[in-house]
């Protein structure tokens, strides 16, 4: 079996030096990571940054570079996603623009909070806690809803409500969003964009895993346009975050982003084809499980005694 080991050696030996991350990593490992997360994004319509960032850190990319490069890669994957949804008429540009206004403001504030927390030395802790809280909240919400929906379809009765009547109906600046089939206050989508903007800047993710549930459950948007519209607004918010990270921290690795993008788009195609064969409720149930497992893993890391209590940080250039 010498030929097999020779091929294996070749695969294992194909290292690429990442100029900004300043480490050499296996090309196929990086392509595989991108593809794996791409499959998830194709299946569920989320970027998967909440999984990719910790994975990149695990294989040796410095956390600051992983977070910033992730933003750059999200721009690429969101563009290809939006174009696909646009060609099927599944992007509500008006809704996206209103959310974007809130998103730009929110991510600016999020970036300021990030800088403050880093100077206090507790950014990692805050990121981890933010992940645990948001992921478990969303996971439980989605899980419960999808189980309810599955039961409903089994009994084949009681269709879902189209309009929710609550306090939000009384808010000013009402706008008609035709593609989303909504007549609501512009403050609602702008507010969602704002909150998710803050979260995505702090957590270093695109935020689709926050946006998509918020648009479905809080706005009550028609599900067809949800993914395309969220991707549309993510492009701009993440392009802005990329620019800011490159400008102030020099932590955007273009080469790493490109490799992850190549893996990601192939994975997204596979995920998209898999997703077309599965009904929506089951898909959402699956996603709820993925999110809850991630949250449980992060919670365990916070609570369990770490194998190594000490960590080191380079603080200066020496004297």
């Amino acid at each position: 079996m010498t030929w097999a080991t020779a091929i294996l050696d070749w695969f294992l030996g194909l290292q690429i030096y990442l100029p900004i991350a300043e480490v050499a990593l296996n090309v196929f490992l990086l392509l595989g990571l991108g593809a794996g997360v791409g499959v998830l994004s194709g299946l569920f319509g989320v970027g998967g940054g909440f999984l990719l960032t910790p994975l990149l850190v695990f294989v040796g990319v410095p956390p600051a570079v992983a977070v910033a490069t992730q933003s750059n890669q999200v721009v690429a994957s969101s563009v290809s996603g939006v174009l696909a949804h646009w060609s099927r008429g599944n992007v509500d540009f008006k809704m996206g623009a209103v959310m974007l206004a809130g998103g730009m403001l929110g991510s600016s504030i999020g970036v300021a909070i990030f800088t403050l927390l880093r100077s206090l030395g507790q950014i990692d802790l805050v990121i981890a806690i933010a992940y645990v809280i948001t992921l478990s909240g969303i996971g439980i919400m989605m899980g419960v809803e999808s189980v309810r929906a599955l039961r409903r379809t089994r009994r084949s009765m009681a269709p879902a409500k189209l309009h929710q009547h609550n306090w939000a109906q009384g808010l000013p600046f009402k706008m008609r969003f035709r593609k989303s089939r909504l007549y609501i206050s512009a403050l609602l989508p702008a507010g969602i964009g704002f909150v998710v903007g803050i979260m995505s800047a702090i957590m270093g993710v695109g935020g689709a895993f926050l946006l998509v549930p918020a648009m479905i459950y809080l706005l009550g948007m028609a599900t067809g346009a949800v993914i395309g519209t969220s991707l549309f607004q993510i492009i701009f918010v993440q392009a802005w975050v990329t620019f800011w990270q490159a400008n102030t921290n020099q932590t955007v690795d273009v080469l790493l982003a490109l490799i992850l993008t190549i893996g990601g788009v192939v994975g997204a195609q596979i995920g998209g084809r898999l997703g077309a064969k599965l009904p929506g409720e089951q898909l959402r149930f699956l996603m709820a499980i993925v999110i809850l497992v991630t949250a449980a893993g992060l919670l365990y890391e916070l609570v369990a005694r770490p194998a190594e209590l000490f960590s080191i940080v380079i603080t200066g250039g020496g004297h």
């Binding site: 290292q15 100029p19 080469l255 960590s311």
Partner: protein
């Protein structure tokens, strides 16, 4: 190719060693390459250190990288969660530390000499910011442990091989995570528990080629780099869409 260079260099040195005028220097050592270029394909490198002595003896090699200030943080349990609580700073910690010897170190030199010349990982000099702290030992050990885990302090000293009793050679493994800068390789000749000869030779590790250009550009023209990064991502996304568009 480096093997060929080694043979040529060793032949030259053997001739030089036989020459009466050159027989004065107790130790001559060199590296097969004084420049390690970090290119896009860089996955670590091997550096060959070789040399000759004026007679039987043992050789110790210490390689140290550029120094930096380091903060060591310790996690403590607060309200059920493990968070970074205590931090101790250390100054002038070498980024990289490698060591090699022809015999186990303890057999070659007494403790005080080893400590003075920073031979062995336990003797690497790190200046604590607060030297009176009761946990100092714990934190400095943790720093060494972290450096070992990342492969920057080699805990398995390489063995220097002698060819006859005058020619020696050792292969030093440089990991892919090395920081750039000027490194120093110190070579010592030891006889009867004493250092009888020493030589220092520099090793420069620097980024070269496409990767270096990207790094330079990212640091010198950060705003333009950011814009380009976005444009590359937009283009890559568009190409991906074209490639997989349903026909």
């Amino acid at each position: 190719m480096s093997a060929f260079r080694l043979i040529a260099a060793m032949l030259l040195m053997t001739v030089a060693g036989l020459h009466p005028a050159r027989a004065q220097a107790p130790l001559i050592a060199d590296l097969d390459d004084h420049l390690i270029a970090i290119t896009t394909g860089f996955a670590g490198a091997d550096v060959l250190l070789f040399g000759t002595t004026d007679g039987p003896g043992d050789v110790i090699v210490v390689v140290k990288g550029p120094v930096a200030d380091v903060e060591v943080l310790r996690k403590e349990r607060v309200g059920g969660i493990w968070i970074n609580r205590k931090g101790l700073g250390f100054q002038n910690v070498p980024a990289v530390y490698m060591m090699a010897s022809s015999k186990p170190l303890a057999a070659l030199l007494p403790d005080d000499q080893r400590a003075f010349y920073q031979m062995g990982i336990e003797n690497v000099r790190m200046v604590p910011v607060s030297p009176d702290d009761s946990d100092l030992k714990l934190f400095s050990q943790a720093l060494i442990r972290a450096k070992q885990t990342s492969g920057l302090f080699s805990d398995q000293p390489a063995r220097i091989l002698f060819i006859g009793d005058r020619l020696f050679r050792v292969n030093l493994r440089v990991p892919s995570t090395v920081p750039t800068g000027t490194y120093l390789a110190e070579v010592y000749l030891v006889r009867d528990q004493k250092i009888v000869g020493a030589q220092t030779t520099p090793l420069v590790i620097s980024k070269i080629g496409f990767g270096a250009d990207i790094y330079d550009f990212a640091h010198r023209h950060s705003a333009a780099y950011g814009v380009i990064a976005i444009l590359v991502a937009l283009f890559a996304g568009w190409m991906a869409h074209l490639a997989f568009r349903r026909r």
